[in-house]
Amino acid sequence: MEALFFLLFAAMATVAALGVVLARNPVYSALSLIACFVQVAALFVLLRAPFLAAVQIFVYVGTTIVLFILVIVMLDLRQAILDRFIPGSRFWAPFVAVSLGGIIVAALLASDRLAELSSNLQSAPLTLTGTTRELGIALFTQFLLPFEVISVILLVALVGAILLAKKEHK
């Protein structure tokens, strides 16, 4: 049953991701990206990470894509609709990407450690719940320093974004 749901979500995520790359209109790309992120959030739920699924929806769908759409409607996109791809990249770019994908999948299939891991996993007890409580305790004790650093990064990004987008006074 879980495998069935995984295949459903994975197929929809793949189709939506293709939509992001192939859509003519940037607005359609943004909407496809929303669909893809929602499917990935569903996969997070399958992986027993409900908090991260919620964060995924809030941060990506609720903030990031809304920002994208806000910028899209501010800009004139007729040129973007007319020429979708970089000239001359029609053959080499997919070739590079597909070769990289082939290498990744081949490495996965050839990996002894992954096979060993997968065979050991069936008997492992499920102790991790992925709840907010568990994550919060870890984040505020063991990972306190990275947490503080990331808050400084967010502050710097906030100030930088305001400074960059501000109109310059002559």
Partner: protein
């Protein structure tokens, strides 16, 4: 239980699709969206390993990835607006002010 390798293959597929977009699309906004897609495919891998190894560190790492992505998008979109205001270009192959 879904095998770990399925999640890893899905992550690889989404990563490759995002890479095609980054390499091939001309509009800088779409390139940014594809970048998001690539980062998200990495989070799938992190959480899949976290679940299968029953280790919380993957979750923490994924939270940090999401946070960094949010910061990156804010700065990148501010740059796009500044670029549009000053030079009126959005094509990645025409943003070449610094190439001599």
């Amino acid at each position: 239980m879904v095998p770990l390798s399925w999640y890893l293959v899905l992550g690889a597929i989404l990563f490759v699709i995002g890479l095609v977009g980054v390499l091939q699309r001309r509009n800088v906004l779409i390139v940014l969206m594809c970048l998001e897609l690539m980062l998200n495919s990495v989070s799938i891998n992190l959480i899949a390993f976290s679940y299968h190894l029953q280790d919380l560190r993957g979750h923490i790492f994924a939270i940090f990835v999401i946070t960094i992505t949010a910061a990156e998008v804010a700065v990148a979109l501010a740059l796009v607006i500044a670029m549009m205001r000053n030079r009126r270009v959005l094509q990645v192959d025409r943003i070449n002010l610094m190439s001599g």
